[in-house]
């Protein structure tokens, strides 16, 4: 019976992969892939970046120890593939992860790759090296790693404080390339050196990014392309018109909104377009440290008032997902199933009944038709933040909450949130790997820098550790669902929806796969080719 289920799961997975992958005949060598880039990244250093604006153009310069299969849309433990590591193994107590490294790999400047480079990279990430990253946004990913020890030039071990099977997921992320020991972090920001299929040529801020084929790439015959050129076009209308006019072979990945996708399909009917979840959730951050949201009744009422389907219908023409903290299935691996989700207050289909309940909670807190609660709904001055905030304000009216939109410039948003200078905020949270460790610890653990609401529940935190150490995926899944349900019931950070976005390319572009549960891991582009 188990094998039947395994077969069905494999078939479903393959179908999912095929649905977003282009296939055609024998790959051809040559040609430059022309793409537009949505903005000018701060620099070229992926380890210091916190946006996929860095990953997309520069992931092709590097390799990881392991990587998610670039042609299976859904990242999962089953799709991990060796890259700079040829193989890996866990110790019997699951506290030591050892990688056998590939030999004969060279950096783009000709120097050989060894285990010393891996050690340097993780010492940098863990803040243990002399040299420092200017920013180190993912230091917390390695909090359970005690140290990284080379065993000769081509073997390296990660010694953990406790078992953490998700470490492999973090290592496979596009955010975890291996850096060379002999190049400083400052130089990696301006002229990155990697072992990947493409060599860095130039990055002209606000203008262009150019990569060229690495003729000495350790995967013989790859990459197929002679290079990739990104033209930086921050104006979305201009960028899309340029794609329609044929100036570009591909749009920036997951940059097309659902309404714009219709425009592209009407103006460029031959374009291949796919829509996938971005694993970015739109959620509400509540300042529960001061009145009125220190009252759990008001927080629960607000959560009950949400008509999530309306958000999805208005903003995405029905093409987005309702879920908890983890991306919902089928694309999400760890998201709660629908029947479990609907048992959470506010997730049931009867919105009116939910709102009646919410009104009672508001009345218990002293508010009603004659006494409305006035709140400011703060959000960043970007369309993807403002638009749902406006809908949120409208929905809160139904439970005696009068919201006023408070738009905040990007530079001021985080300092404002950090000093708790807000009542209610609408926020977006991106997950670079579809794994509960990344999401739970970052956003909900006591004292985490990204736990904006300061939600702190020691009982839940113990469960974070339990699920994190669980080796059995099915058992871990059950634990994750229970934690996610509890987080939603506690109104820790109410999730409104998980967004989807489109990517288009010209029909002659082959070998592109858009990942369906992460926007950060699928841009190696070593076997993309042009059928021209």
């Amino acid at each position: 019976m188990r094998s039947v289920w395994a077969l069905a799961a494999t078939a479903a997975l393959s179908l999912l992969a095929f649905s977003t992958t282009t296939f055609a005949g024998e790959p051809k060598q040559g040609g430059i892939l022309r793409m537009y880039h949505r903005d000018s990244p701060a620099n070229a250093s992926i380890l210091e970046g916190a946006t996929y604006s860095v990953n997309v153009p520069f992931m092709g310069v590097f390799n990881n120890l392991v990587i998610y299969d670039q042609h299976i849309a859904q990242n999962s433990p089953d799709t991990l593939r060796p890259e700079l590591a040829e193989s890996w193994s866990w110790s019997s107590d699951n506290k030591k992860l050892t990688f056998k490294l590939r030999q004969g790999v060279k950096w783009h400047d000709g120097k050989p790759f060894t285990s010393a480079d891996v050690k340097c990279t993780f010492d940098l990430l863990m803040g243990k090296s002399q040299q420092k990253l200017r920013q180190n946004p993912r230091k917390a990913w390695y909090s359970e790693v005690d140290d990284v020890t080379p065993n000769g030039d081509f073997e390296i071990s990660f010694n953990l404080k406790r078992p953490q099977p998700s470490l492999l997921a973090m290592l496979a992320s596009g955010y975890t390339p291996i850096y060379p020991c002999h190049v400083s972090p400052a130089d990696m920001r301006t002229h990155p050196i990697g072992t990947g299929p493409y060599k860095f040529v130039e990055f002209k801020a606000n203008e262009s990014i150019k990569l060229t084929r690495n003729p000495d790439y350790w995967k013989k015959g790859l990459p197929y392309l002679d290079g990739i050129e990104y033209t930086i076009i921050p104006n979305r209308s201009t960028a899309i018109l340029a794609f329609v006019a044929g100036k570009f072979d591909m749009t920036f990945p997951t940059h097309i909104t659902i309404p714009l996708l219709k425009d592209i399909k009407s103006q460029a009917p031959n374009a291949v377009c796919v829509v996938e979840p971005t694993n970015v959730s739109t959620n509400i951050i509540v300042n529960s440290s001061s009145a009125p949201f220190d009252n759990i009744d008001i927080r629960r009422a607000m959560s009950l008032a949400l008509d999530r389907k309306a958000f999805v219908d208005i903003l995405f023409e029905g093409q987005a997902d309702v879920g908890g903290t983890m991306l919902p299935p089928p694309q999400g691996i760890w998201g709660m199933p629908k029947d479990k989700l609907q048992t959470i207050p506010g997730y049931g289909p009867d919105v009116n009944a939910n709102r009646e309940e919410a009104k009672k909670l508001m009345q218990r807190a002293g508010y009603g038709p004659d006494k409305h609660l006035a709140v400011k709904v703060s959000t960043r001055n970007l369309a993807e933040y403002r638009d749902p905030a406006v809908i949120l304000i409208d929905q809160l009216k139904s439970i005696y909450i009068d919201g006023e939109l408070d738009v905040v410039e990007t530079a001021n948003w985080f300092p404002k949130v950090a000093r708790k200078d807000y009542m209610l905020g609408l926020n977006l949270t991106g997950n670079s790997v579809d794994d509960p460790d990344q999401s739970f610890y970052e956003n909900y653990s006591c004292g985490s820098e990204r736990n904006y609401t300061n939600y702190c529940n020691k009982e839940i935190e113990k469960l974070f550790d339990v699920q994190s150490q669980e080796i059995d995926t099915n058992k871990r899944k059950q634990l994750v669902w229970d934690i996610d349900k509890k987080l939603q019931e506690d109104v820790a950070r109410p999730i409104i929806f998980h967004a989807r976005a489109g990517t288009c390319w010209q029909p002659y572009v082959k070998g592109i796969t858009i990942m369906s549960n992460s926007s950060y891991n699928g841009f190696r582009y070593e076997d993309v080719w042009l059928n021209k």
Binding site: A50, T190, T238, A242
Partner: protein, 315 residues
């Protein structure tokens, strides 16, 4: 004349010092700095890392020290380093200047070469169908925002020709060079050509009613001689003033046009630098713009004397 020139140059210097103080301190009044933005993008902040980075960039020092450091560097030709790209600010700014200068020059040329003749025609043919048509065109030029006009031009060219006139640093043909610079220049210059047309028309109408024009006609001078030799020469002063002012305002239009046509010029770069709070880039670029504007005003003042013999700058 020499003493006047020296006085004007000294005044320019004082103005530029004043502007540098205003730019520097206004920029610091705006909430947030590069470190806030970098950490906001990461969605976290480690206070120790933040302090370290502020120290590295020198933005932890007192404002007066930072100002003196900047001015001292300027006097030695050292514009500092971009906080974002970590490259010398001069190296970032210099290659963008010719692109914007070419665009601005072409826009002004378009504005003058279209605005002045059409303004004269409109005035000479006052009350005719041509006059009404030109007035409608000029009004629409003043009313249409350049970002809208730019997008309209792009959309129309894609829809009608399947081509997209966005920036190409190395145009391969005359047509591509035309598309790269002339189309955006026309878009940005359309508004100022409309203004030039209206000013020329009203100034011409005033001059055409003067006695000396009637005298010229009575003496048998041709229409062309009356309109262009006698009238336009006397009507041109307010037009020059407006073109001078427009040169200063052009940067606003260029920001939008460079964004819509994706031209990597100074104006778009300035907006990005402001977004990142990249102080060395912003303050040096704004100073550059201030120098251009002050110089343009100076040149306009000098042109008055050339075009109007009654004006003499005596000692």
């Amino acid at each position: 004349m020499f003493a006047y020139l020296v006085r004007r140059l000294l005044l320019m210097l004082v103005t530029l010092i004043g502007i540098s103080i205003v730019i520097f301190f206004l920029l610091r009044i705006v909430p947030g700095n590069i470190v806030d933005i970098l950490f906001a993008a990461a969605g976290y902040v480690d206070p120790a890392d933040k302090v370290d980075l502020e120290k590295q960039l020198g933005i932890d020092q007192p404002l007066v020290v930072q100002y003196l450091h900047w001015i001292g560097g300027l006097l030695h030709g050292d514009l500092g380093y971009s906080y974002v790209s970590e490259k010398p600010a001069l190296q970032e700014i210099l290659p963008r200047i010719p692109i914007t200068a070419r665009l601005a020059g072409l826009a002004l040329l378009f504005s003058a070469s279209i605005g002045i003749p059409l303004g004269v025609i409109s005035a000479v043919k006052q009350g005719s169908r041509i006059d009404y048509a030109l007035r409608v065109v000029s009004l629409s030029g003043l009313s249409l925002p350049s970002f809208w006009l730019g997008l309209l031009v792009l959309t129309a060219s894609v829809a009608m020709f399947g081509q997209m006139p966005i920036f190409n640093p190395n145009p391969q043909s005359l047509g591509e060079a035309f598309a790269t610079y002339c189309i955006p220049a026309m878009v940005v210059g359309f508004r100022s050509s409309a203004l030039t047309m209206r000013i020329t028309r009203s100034s011409m109408l005033e001059v055409l009613r003067q006695d000396y024009i009637r005298t010229a006609r009575a003496k048998g001078a041709s229409d062309a001689a009356v309109n262009y030799h006698h009238a336009l020469k006397n009507a041109i002063l307010p037009v020059i003033t407006v073109i001078g002012i427009e040169a200063a305002f052009l940067i606003g239009g260029l920001i939008v046009t460079e964004t819509v046509f994706n031209i990597p010029g100074v104006a778009r770069f300035l907006v990005e630098a402001i977004r990142w709070r990249d102080y060395p880039i912003v303050q040096n670029l704004v100073m550059l713009i201030a120098v251009v504007v002050v110089s343009a005003n100076f040149i306009v003042d000098m042109l008055y004397a050339v075009f109007d013999p009654r004006i003499r700058y005596t000692d």
